[in-house]
Symmetry: C2
Subunit: 583 residues, 2 copies
């Protein structure tokens, strides 16, 4: 037996006991006659001591120790003279009678501490050492805890966790698939699933009634800062339900998990139509931890001689509390900020509503104090506030103003971590027009049911049709999304037609789903949650990379094991493949 | 709301209530004035009735129904005149007041009943209909239940469920990898994991202490009857443990799960060295539900003038209880059975130990009754038993005799389903010599620790070295296997050397693991269970295919969605690949 206790377990109760611990050397302090070693494992840190009574053998072994050596230590638990209240084992220490080096360690490339001196790249290369740091490992423990909590809730509520295949059929809709050449079927390929969408719908046709799975999904997209080629989804589907049933069920799941893992009680989730979210927050995933709503002041500001506003499709404004005293420099900063290509505004108009009730704006030439007072009233602004105005075409300007709102929220520290404000965004448009390819794309996916009231518009004005789709948004982050599904093969065929599939293409790609619908498909609906994102929200982190044990970098590489990598020519031969020459 | 209750929920208590159910039409019986519809969902079957008071509208809708139509039915719960004790809702029926067809159904290609008329191929093509059958869906429900039980035990015992990557680096040791071309890294490939072996060892280096994961693994092998290209593993690893700790922990897990899911109490698991398993059972996965042990009678039978035995390296025998009365035809059958290429014996010698104490054998010419009595004594055979003898080189003959033992166990119905006899097989050889490639292969994998007592043999006689490896065997099926790992980089380097890797090859393939070991690796050990096989054992099934929602056939194809499939040339171009011409 390597140990009698873990390094986080011993308390004053154990004083006098002979124990054996094993773990990593966190720190050594050598004061000649006395030495102290902090021994660390997943469960905590325990202090080992030697003194003038310690055997020469132990003392000699101790001389050889370095940081991160793995050792086994035997000794007697005794009370510490000066307690350490920062650690759970701080009342005791172990007076060493035996010491064995299990594994030596080279000097690690960075310090294994909460505040490490290692840069990002180094820590990714030595991920196994980075994971030794408490702060990092805790995120992964939290991840396991969230998953377990979700599983408990769903299992207790009758959902059957069902594994769906990883080697599936490639479908052209959506993002790019990763593919897997089949040796046994030369020239043919599997795809890795972007989601188990079709399989979970087939499980509903199969009468499973309630399905879930915590499952890896794959997208071969150019990676952005917070994307991973493989990611994890909590994937759910239910039969004989309407949108209302789904929202209720998963609102309960979210409340249960927040309570269970973080001991946070969430209020009932408000519901907001997509159109309101865009108009009031300039985003389909509004952060409602703070107000600072967008106001459409187009009609208020036009026809006063300011040509930029007069020619704009939309003029919108927000009022930032207490920012009327912003300096010239701060305003310039904001102006540059909105002009960045990511935001894309042409310029920024400001109105300072001074504490004394006077106004100072960048458009004083065109608008009187009374005019500006009118704007302030429309925005419910108060003396001391700074009104910020953007103008231009409506779609882009609303979004830019939404981004500016978030930026001001950051500056005013209104987006507090540890405060969780979930809501359901509902009534999404069913279709999005793509100007480039001159066709509609499904905003969620081609299986999303139109709102029954809007089905009449499918032929006349498809862009106006609302979907029975919903997103769960928390603190401005889309945590999950789903929809009521089409369960009628004719309506599904019509959708494929609108999306530009020929009947033959639709049949080739989704034939097995449409065939399945011919044998009695129940009404069904579902949702999928981004598990990595959910966990990073629980952990108060901004990146999903920190809640993934072995993440890949932005080029899709694992720098620790240097993959992907070339494979042997024999492997390629077996797969009936050859590499193209790179020009 | 689509339903107030499920089809398995209503009891005599509900009589008089107005309810709405939804589900599939299982059966319709039309008796003119009265009609009965069995309505089915995942939860059960409820009988709907119409009578002379039923509205014309309902009656008309009812006329349109066919098998597997999805309907919504409203009515009043009333007591049945003749109760059906076979179903949980058998005390009541629903007198219909409303009936709506939610989805019609074409006539299904086979009957949706426990005893279906559908053949294998048809049921795989329409897997979503096959899954509607109670018997099939129950297997998947059981699967979810086993997984949940395993997760509860491991989580309660401090194991952190940690996801490891699916897109990893290809390693040449072991079976063939599936590979995934990387678009962002032209000419390079990911591999899909055959197991998360290296990652779980890295998690031990990272101090995770106890890890588990229920995880998909992949092997591109030619498929045999009960193999799938993707399969699921319960993968576990622990630090600061010896073999004894691992066996104890996972014996508890197995007992917990059998108790929890099947309400079966398992006895303590015996432990059997590999050498005993081979000698006594002719198998490294002995079925110990019955005795009929193998006996080495080589020295007993030699030098009596029977040249076949005299020239054999090994002569072994089993005694089949009560089979002395086997007919000539039955003996011939057995002889042909052992001569099949899968068994490969040259012939079969039998000795009938008749009820009257006399002997009749196929070698009476060479052996006296006293000789045969000596054999019987060695085998503890009794009058009425049939002694079966195989001879030849030891390795093959022992295995063939082990197969014959199982066959006799089947014939004598000694291998009862519902009886579970687990054991640990231990002390496996570390290495297997491969005559073809003239090198040693790791019997488990290259990270398995040799038994410390045998390390001295590593240079002098590697084939004799026992491994610190163990298999969990239940009823003759290998359910899990694992080992204590090497945690010392020099010993690991030596193993790679013995396995024929050059230091450069070892470094290129496993460098990141060997590097990790330089920074303080803890002693660690682990195990992996074949989850599909475990569930099929729980379900009393012989094939893992029946416990997989969407399995592939023996050519690795999903016949439901016809994958794998060709992909577009543009996709190949993006991946810098082209297909080779097939000759």
């Amino acid at each position: 037996m390597y140990r009698t206790h873990t390094c986080g377990e011993l308390r004053a109760d154990h004083v006098g006991e002979e124990v054996t611990l094993a773990g990593w050397v966190q720190k050594i302090r050598d004061f000649g006659a006395m030495s102290f070693v902090d021994l660390r494992d997943r469960y905590g840190i325990t202090q080992l001591v030697t003194n003038e009574n310690t055997s020469a053998k132990v003392t000699e072994t101790l001389q050889q120790l370095g940081r991160e050596f793995v050792i086994q230590a035997t000794g007697t638990v005794r009370e510490r003279s000066s307690k350490n209240k920062n650690i759970a084992t701080g009342e005791i220490e172990i007076e060493l009678s035996g010491l064995k080096i299990l594994s030596p360690s080279a000097v690690p490339p960075f310090t294994i501490q909460d505040d490490t001196d290692g840069g990002d790249d180094l820590r990714m290369k030595y991920r196994y050492l980075d994971l030794r740091r408490n702060a990092v490992r805790k995120n992964l423990e939290l991840r396991a805890q969230v998953a377990h909590s979700v599983r408990n809730f769903l299992t207790e509520n009758g959902f059957i966790e069902t594994e769906t295949p990883v080697l599936i059929k490639s479908t052209p809709e959506g993002a790019r698939d990763f593919v897997v050449p089949s040796r046994m079927n030369p020239g043919e390929f599997y795809a890795l699933p972007q989601s188990p969408q079709i399989f979970k719908q087939l499980l509903m046709v199969a009468g499973f009634d309630k399905y879930f799975q915590i499952v890896k999904c794959f997208r071969d997209e150019d990676l952005r800062a917070d994307r991973q080629p493989e990611f994890t989804q909590i994937d759910c589907e239910m039969s004989f339900v309407e949108q209302e049933d789904v929202l209720n069920t998963f609102e309960k799941l979210a409340k249960y998990t927040f309570k269970n893992v973080l001991d946070v009680d969430l209020d009932d989730f408000p519901r907001m139509p997509y159109s309101t979210a865009m108009e009031k927050y300039g985003s389909d995933k509004p952060d409602i931890r703070f107000e600072m709503l967008l106001h459409d002041i187009t009609t208020t500001v036009q026809n006063k001689g300011f040509s930029i506003f007069d020619s704009a499709e939309y003029v919108g404004a927000i009022a930032a509390k207490g920012c009327a005293e912003y300096s010239r420099k701060q305003i310039d900063e904001l102006t540059n900020w909105v002009k960045r290509p990511q935001i894309g505004a042409k310029g920024l108009v400001y109105v300072k509503y001074n504490e004394d009730g006077s106004f100072k704006s960048s458009v004083d030439k065109f608008y009187s104090a009374d005019d500006l007072k009118g704007w302030a009233e429309q925005l419910n602004a108060n003396p001391g506030d700074l009104i910020l105005v953007l103008s231009g075409d409506k779609a882009h300007t609303v979004t830019a103003l939404g981004e500016l709102r978030l930026e001001m929220g950051n500056r005013l520290e209104l987006r507090k971590k540890g405060t969780f404000k979930p809501l359901w965004v509902i009534d999404f448009p069913l279709l999005e027009w793509n100007e480039e390819s001159k066709r509609f794309f499904a905003m969620h996916h081609p299986f999303t049911s139109p709102n029954p009231e809007d089905i009449v518009l499918l032929d006349s004005d498809p862009g106006k049709v609302r979907a029975n789709a919903y997103d769960l948004v928390i603190n401005g982050v889309e945590i999950g999304g789903g929809s009521v599904r089409i369960f009628n093969s004719e309506l599904q065929a019509k959708m494929f037609d609108i999306l530009g599939f020929t009947p033959e293409q639709a049949m080739a790609q989704f034939g097995f789903l449409m065939n399945a619908f011919k044998y009695g498909a129940p009404p069904h609906a579902g949702i999928a949650f981004g598990f990595d994102r959910l966990v990073s929200m629980f952990a108060g982190l901004d990146s999903i990379r920190d809640v993934i044990a072995f993440p890949k970098n932005n080029a899709g590489r694992d720098v620790m094991n240097d993959s992907p990598a070339p494979i042997a020519n024999e492997q390629l031969d077996e797969l009936f493949l050859q590499l193209k020459k790179l020009d």
